[in-house]
Symmetry: C2
Subunit: 377 residues, 2 copies
């Protein structure tokens, strides 16, 4: 366990049920459950750090795979670390890049020692080990680092999934060793594919190791929602109650609600930012596809009563015009609204858990979407 990290569990309704907590990091206190906006390349796409702070974000996600390839870890370190480089005073969790190596790199070879891969940017050859990945994350000043993991594809043969999970566990132990006594908070990644008993077994095995938190990896990779949730249900009750659980790369507003219902404390996902740039806005009544002709003269904001900058100043008609004109301001305004929606949703979730009314909140959440004629964000 690290000195620069403390997780304070404020409330837990039942093992594997909704929880309320606090991450106490050297760069501030973060209330959980929390959504972390994604800033893979050292910027949350289209948004300034001041705007992120204005939205109430206290922690963002970045990615050591991307930064290692470009601009290079030594560049970020020479410029004073990632926080200074990107002008972000809040906390940063860096993903290890395990998922990216297995999804983006055109060629890769895994050995016990580590992974050899080619850059998706220029084809250059690289070799990363668990130890190296810990070192890289420390070098850029991550507030929370993540162990190198092997993320199997989906679907994958059972033996592949078992081999990857076992390797991920052995690599995690090496990461812990490499971290040593340094004050660098380190999260493990629990894999296990879509095999419930393997997920449970892995969670149990990881439980014995003293990580600062536990990521649930390899989910929402193509499987159906029921499977994702079933995997959560077997894994979270086995993880240490006093450590945060982070569901990686997930998901829609519904996924956040369902994740919290199953004991998840942390989330990240590109959906609010990526969908914003693709012209899709999240609202409590469902999605708004801004290019639709129905909005051509619509004077209303994306969501009635929304307090975000976009909704306070711009009509759907104007946003549609900007989007059809491919104006950068369209991407900015939709991204701002979506991140506001996600962060606001998490605030409401925390309030509901604190008040012991999460079940009612969840019911109302779905009712609003049904009224909106749309059940999926």
């Amino acid at each position: 366990m690290s000195e620069a990290f403390e997780f304070h569990l404020k409330k837990s309704e039942s093992p594997g049920g909704p929880r309320l907590g606090q991450l106490r990091l050297s760069r501030g206190v973060v209330e959980t459950p929390v959504f972390m906006p994604v800033g893979t390349q050292g910027t949350v796409k289209a948004i300034t750090p001041e705007e992120l702070q204005g939205l109430g974000a206290g922690i963002i996600l970045s990615n050591i795979y991307h930064l290692y390839l470009r601009p290079g870890v030594e560049v970020v370190a020479a410029l004073g670390g990632l926080h200074k480089f990107m002008n972000w005073p809040g906390a940063i969790l860096t993903d290890s890049g395990g998922y990216q190596i297995f999804s983006l790199a055109p060629l890769r070879k895994i050995t016990e020692e580590g992974v050899n891969f080619r850059s998706h940017l220029d084809g250059s050859s690289h070799f990363l080990t668990p130890e190296k990945v810990v070192e890289l994350q420390r070098a850029i000043g991550a507030d929370i680092s993540v162990c190198l993991d092997e993320c199997p594809g989906y679907p994958a043969p059972e033996e592949e999934v078992r081999r990857a999970a076992a390797l991920t566990l052995r690599w995690a132990k090496r990461c812990l060793e490499a971290r040593g006594d340094a004050a660098n908070p380190l999260f493990a990644v629990v894999q296990g594919g879509m095999l419930p008993e393997l997920r449970r077994e892995q969670a149990q095995a990881f439980r014995e190791l003293h990580f600062d938190g536990y990521c649930l990896g390899g989910l929402s990779v193509g499987e159906d929602k029921e499977t994702t949730l079933a995997m959560l249900e077997v894994a979270t009750p086995e993880l240490p109650e006093d450590k945060p659980r982070y569901l990686m790369g997930v998901g829609t507003p519904e996924d956040l609600v369902e994740g919290v219902a199953r004991g998840v404390d942390m989330f990240d996902c590109v959906l609010p930012t990526r969908n914003g740039r693709n012209g899709m806005a999240f609202t409590s009544a469902g999605k708004v596809v801004i290019k639709n002709a129905v909005y051509a003269r619509d004077p209303e904001p994306l969501e009635e009563g929304c307090g975000c900058y976009t909704c306070r100043h711009y009509s759907r008609a104007y946003l549609r015009h900007l989007f059809l004109s491919r104006e950068i301001l369209a991407y900015r305004l939709l991204t701002l609204h979506n991140l506001y929606y996600y962060l606001q949703l998490m605030t409401e979730i925390r309030r509901a858990v604190a008040a012991g009314r999460f079940a009612a909140f969840r019911r109302e959440f779905y009712e609003k979407r049904l009224e909106g004629g749309n059940t999926r964000g």
Copy 2:
């Protein structure tokens, strides 16, 4: 002359020399010489209205050709006019679209009555007259409207240039008639190609008509700099001393300095915004092409001592990383810096004219660029 418009000439060093003035519009007072950021499609590209105000912009340029084609003037009007549509509380001057019809539309036919053209967006057919163009600009609530003009290509046969200039003058008279007693400030466009005596003759002819201001059109369309400046030199001394002169679509920082030296009061140009999006920053020492490898580890801001948001928070190394990663934030930050540079340059120009030291300012302006190893912005 319109009630909603007043030009107060505060200082004029000599006929056709540097001037200091004030545009008094219903949406605020604008000090001249002024640079107007370009917001052709109802947004200054990549920037919010609040950011524009933070930069000190009091008036922006929009374009009735673009807005007429998309989203449509009736849409903008139905949404409460352009100011409300785009959330901009300052003044807006709309160009008539003369230049766009002649540079963007794939097919066009000019008659005495007006111009028939096809949209560059969807090929649809349109007919605009001088009267219609005045009406459209009024309908969206422009603070200053511009007469429909014919902008000949460059180079063009002398007879073509003469015919276009004469038609532009007849159209301008019809625009004035169409405006009538309405409180809609209207600027004429003085054409005349690269023929000095035609430019002088046109300026003299327009002088007799009571417009609120005079645009110098059809310049910086491919001719060399000396020719542009020579055209200004013959035209500005012939224009009414008590009316603002607006050099359309020009130009580099050097062009602004040289325009002011020749009696120009207003400028607009896409260079600060477009070049920003293309990775080029303007500085007092010349241009910074941010993708250059020399900036890979450069911890310095774009310009030492610059007070813009970008320079206060970000290194050249970070901006280079963002630009190479094609991050929207790169376009935002470079646009912000460039607009700041342009607006700051105009502030310095106004101070120099006010202090009676414009000649010295101009000399120092070029000296800094020579020291920077670059004489062209």
